[in-house]
């Protein structure tokens, strides 16, 4: 009888053993495809800069840019690491550059050229429709763009550069011609080690920054840093010169 039992038991154990191998729970990440790089830089494209390891963002030391974000513990303190230049109003009402107290100044003030006073409801997402004067209505960042730049800043501070870039692209879709958004995009790209794209975004920002010398200076300064990182010392010096002229 035992002779009968042995093969049967063996067979059932073997069968059972075979069958109970867990299957199908291979996690996505193990599939070994290049698709899973959490990387902002797909192959090809415009990345002629040598790939660099992501590093904590190298914040500009003392350019003239003050990016202030309201809310949080200290609403009037810039959350960027560099200081406001003397005389820059430290109001907490808006995300502004160090031009006149934009967030409290009525739109259409003389310093922004000829655009007719816009209705307060004129949004930042909409070109002001004026013919010359540029982006007067956009000067005061409000609503959606301010909110998204704020979240991008928080993500960047928390080390989530991809998230920050994604939030900034969301802001860029809402206000595609707002140079401050492009400036921040350039900053984040630089922090991600993509100096070539950083320079391109800063240049795009410049094309929308007519009549905003402080912002232009910051953009040139960023271009200088990007060129430096790409090993273009002469170009960097040139850009720094432009930054000085614009200030």
């Amino acid at each position: 009888m035992n002779k009968w039992l042995i093969p049967v038991l063996t067979a059932s154990v073997v069968l059972g053993g075979c069958a109970s191998v867990p299957r199908g729970s291979i996690p996505v990440v193990d599939s070994g495809s290049s698709a899973y790089e959490q990387d902002d830089r797909p192959g090809g494209g415009y990345n002629n800069a040598p790939a660099q390891a992501q590093q904590p963002q190298a914040m500009p030391e003392d350019s003239g840019v003050v990016v202030m974000v309201p809310g949080g513990g200290a609403p009037s303190a810039p959350i960027d690491t560099y200081a406001a230049p003397a005389g820059a109003p430290a109001n907490g009402g808006g995300l502004t550059f160090d031009e006149p107290p934009l967030s409290s100044e009525p739109l259409g003030s003389p310093s922004y050229g000829n655009s007719a006073p816009s209705q307060p409801s004129t949004p930042s997402g909409i070109p002001s429709g004026n013919t010359g004067g540029g982006l007067a209505a956009d000067e005061q960042l409000d609503g959606p763009v301010l909110a998204l730049l704020t979240s991008a800043q928080q993500q960047q501070t928390g080390g989530d550069l991809n998230g920050a870039a994604s939030s900034l692209e969301r802001a860029q879709r809402i206000a595609p011609r707002e140079p401050q958004v492009l400036y921040r995009l350039a900053e984040v790209r630089l922090a991600q080690g993509d100096a070539a794209q950083a320079e391109q975004f800063a240049r795009r920002g410049l094309s929308y920054a007519n009549g905003r010398p402080a912002l232009q200076a910051s953009l040139w300064d960023l271009i200088a840093k990007a060129r430096q990182q790409q090993g273009d010392a002469a170009g960097a010096a040139q850009a720094r010169e432009r930054a000085r002229v614009n200030l």
Binding site: L9, A19, G45
Partner: protein, 755 residues
């Protein structure tokens, strides 16, 4: 006697052992499949989420259309996720919340007030301002494996009220008491069937049904029935009722959508009602549960009456068993089936765009990852613009119907946002809902005059030689090509136009002057410009290339015009924004990338000439349909004998390229202005974009010139027009038109001269 008994005992023991072995084997199978990953889930492709913010250009009707497609319920008060209340210009909605790449959007109440086609205010439930909110994105498709099973996995705590009660009441009344098989249920089935004289009720428990679908084939035999029963008991031994129920809810087959099998209540809810399962009401739950018995037989789209009867019968049953009150059942029975229309935005298929997405994904992912891992693909697809593009194209075809050859005419269309490089809509066929040859991506056709902006841009990059008002000659000429052939271009109207301004050559699309200009500049230089614009094809530098003998796809043309529309910054066109795992973890991003390829000044001048194409040139018919305040830039394109009809043009926020022609390259009934341009105009009219408004670059000055002579003029002179020039290339300011030359203009002239 004794040996016989011994044999019987032995045989019995062997049988028992065999049975035990079989049970062990079945047990292993049951556990193996149930404890692992039970289902593979295809990648899901989402449209862009609709953003809401103050100042956004958005028509109320478009918002409501999208919300209908997302399955929002119109109610008097938006008091829960998926509800919307409309009163006048106010839309109060309760969004559902969603996990995006960069952040999670919370479900929340949002009050939107419209003013015209703009969002005038956006507030939260407490009346406080809301900076920005997103609706959840519309699901536009999936990437299915060969067996094409699709499902939206749900958890038991996500199911709506009554679903479990209804399912148990209808399919397996003793579910919570039995141990996998239900003798009581079998007895009842036997009794019912015997007394009815026909097969009315099955005795299978939910567990058995699950086992059947999950582990076994469709074969009908006693051994299979026994195996099924054994496995059901084993399953119940190892797992509790909740787990079994959850698996059942996800596994059950509820419909067939072409090649795709609709499995589980989660997907069925989306498929039939465009709503998440958790939001379904009693009558919807009753309909879905009723369909379990025969998904094809009771298909509410194909057999609405049958489905309605089945649903109402189930509602009666629920009242009978005391699950709901008779009043509730009566109220539910009074409601319509409520299934969405196929082919509406909600149930639309957008094969051309999905094709684009798949091609991109296949470059970056393995097929198994796409079809099994439940990846979430976020795209830039805009269903509102897509439907407008489809309508515009359909209207154009309708207008041309009846003309000779018009039935064979096909189309491809690409819509992007030039400021972000994102593809928003895509049409690959005159029947945009049918998958097939994707002409937007794959039809390689001669681009004709669409190449001309590249020639004029090459010229305008040399401001010391060429300005918009440089005189060029539109006269017949001939050149001998490298192959010895003589090339003799002709104008469309077969006339020569003599001495014209440079911009007029482009605006009126004159072949003679343009070809001559291109030869002056050098064909290789023009091809180099084309390459910088983003065209990567290698064409021989024949003179005929100057009039568009080279062939491109609509998508390639879009890439080329994108660079012009975006101020000289080239960007790879993107359809995908980001990819998340099934669990909502960020996986990959497709970032926005740009590269400046041209001086902003030269592009500004080119855009100006292309605006004149629309105002006074070959595109001027658009303003019979569009308001003159809408500044647009564009270019017509027609290949020989109108075999290809193209139009490429843009506003500030929309770039649209349309191609129309025949797959067999036969003649078509239209010219550049009646085929593609018509569809383009119809689309722009519906999309109502923002007027083109490129900021004036630093190196551009706008001067007053005499329209007749091109000489400098004063603003107040008759015939004076404004014309942009690269600084330094503008004509000397005129000394005025009368006797009195304004002093300051002389001063300006002196200053200009000194500089």
């Amino acid at each position: 006697m004794r040996p016989l008994l011994g044999w019987a005992v032995k045989l019995g023991l062997v049988g028992l052992v065999l049975f035990a072995g079989f049970a062990v084997y079945l047990d292993a199978i049951v556990q193996e499949k149930f404890s692992g990953k039970r289902w593979t889930v295809p990648a899901k492709v989402y449209a862009r989420p609709l953003e809401l913010f103050v100042g956004q250009k958005l028509a109320k009707d478009d918002l409501l259309k999208e919300m209908d497609a997302l399955g929002y319920r119109r109610e008097s008060v938006a008091n829960g996720p998926g509800a919307v209340a409309v009163s006048g210009n106010n839309v109060s909605l309760h969004s559902r919340g969603f996990q995006f790449y960069e952040s999670a959007e919370q479900a929340q109440q949002v009050n939107v007030r419209f003013s015209g086609d703009y969002v005038a205010s956006l507030t939260k439930a407490d009346g406080k301002d809301l900076a920005v909110a997103r609706l959840e994105p519309m699901l536009i498709g999936g990437l299915y494996p060969a067996h094409q099973e699709d499902r939206v996995l749900i958890k038991l705590d996500q199911v709506p009220a009554y679903l479990v009660e209804t399912l148990v009441a209808v399919e397996d009344r003793d579910f919570f008491e039995h141990f996998g098989v239900s003798p009581k249920g079998i007895a009842r089935a036997v009794w019912v069937n015997a007394s009815a004289g026909q097969l009315r009720q099955g005795g299978s428990t939910l567990t058995q049904q699950l086992v059947k679908n999950f582990y076994l084939t469709n074969e009908r035999s006693l051994t299979r029935k026994i195996t099924e029963a054994m496995m059901a008991v084993l399953l119940e031994l190892h797992y509790d009722k909740r787990e079994i129920l959850e698996a059942y809810l996800n596994e059950v087959f509820l419909g067939q959508d072409g090649q795709r099998a609709v499995h589980g209540f989660g997907l069925a809810s989306q498929y039939f009602f465009s709503q998440p399962l958790s939001e379904l009401k009693l009558e919807q739950v009753a309909l879905l549960v009723g369909m379990v018995k025969g998904p094809t037989f009771y298909n509410p789209r194909r057999n609405p009456e049958r489905a309605l009867n089945r649903r109402n019968m189930i509602l009666d049953l629920l009242a009978e068993q005391g699950v709901v009150s008779p009043e509730e059942a009566a109220a539910a029975k009074a409601r319509p089936l409520g299934v969405t229309q196929r082919g509406s935005m909600a149930n639309g298929s957008f094969p051309a765009f999905l094709d684009l997405v798949k091609r991109q994904l296949r470059q970056d992912y393995r097929d198994e990852d796409l079809t099994e891992e439940g990846l979430r693909i976020f795209t830039s697809f805009d269903p509102i613009l897509q439907l407008k593009a489809e309508e515009a194209l359909a209207e154009t075809f309708k207008r041309q119907a009846g003309r000779k050859g018009s039935d064979e005419v096909e189309a491809g269309m690409v819509v992007t946002n030039p400021e972000t490089g994102e593809i928003q809509a895509l049409i690959g066929s005159r029947q945009p809902r049918f998958a097939g040859f994707n002409r937007a991506l794959d039809a390689v056709r001669p681009i004709g005059s669409l190449i001309k902006p590249a020639i004029y841009l090459t010229a305008l990059e040399r401001p010391s030689q060429y300005t918009l008002t440089t005189r060029i000659q539109d006269e017949p000429f001939s050149v001998k090509g490298q192959d010895g052939q003589v090339w003799r271009p002709q104008n469309y109207d077969r006339k020569a136009h003599g001495s014209i301004y440079l911009y007029q050559g482009l605006a009126h699309s004159y072949n003679l002057s343009t070809a001559k200009l291109g030869l002056e500049l050098g064909v290789p230089n023009v091809l180099k410009t084309l390459e910088r614009l983003g065209v990567s094809r290698q064409w021989p530098a024949y003179p005929s290339m100057l009039l568009g003998a080279g062939a491109l796809t609509p998508m390639e043309v879009t890439g080329m015009y994108q660079t012009i529309a975006n101020g000289g910054f080239n960007t790879p066109l993107r359809g995908i924004r980001s990819v998340l795992t099934a669990e909502g973890e960020p996986l990959r991003r497709y970032p926005y990338q740009i590269q400046q390829r041209f001086d902003a000044g030269a592009i500004y001048l080119l855009q100006n000439a292309m605006q004149r194409t629309m105002r006074e040139g070959t595109g001027r018919s658009v303003y019979s349909q569009l308001p003159s305040s809408l500044t647009l830039a564009g270019k017509t394109g027609t290949s020989n004998d109108s075999r290809d009809s193209w139009f490429a043009g843009f506003s500030q926020d929309l770039l649209t390229v349309v191609w129309m022609g025949r797959d067999d390259n036969g003649p078509t009934p239209f010219t550049g202005a009646t085929g593609a341009l018509q569809a383009w105009t119809g689309f722009m009219r519906r999309a109502d974009p923002l007027p083109l408004d490129m900021p004036v670059p630093d190196n551009v000055v706008v001067a007053w010139v005499d329209a007749a002579t091109g000489q400098g003029s004063a603003q107040n002179c008759p015939g004076a027009v404004q014309m942009p020039y690269i600084r330094g290339s503008e004509p000397a300011p005129g000394t005025g038109c009368g006797i009195q030359a304004p002093v300051d203009s002389v001063m300006d002239w002196v200053k200009g001269w000194l500089e």
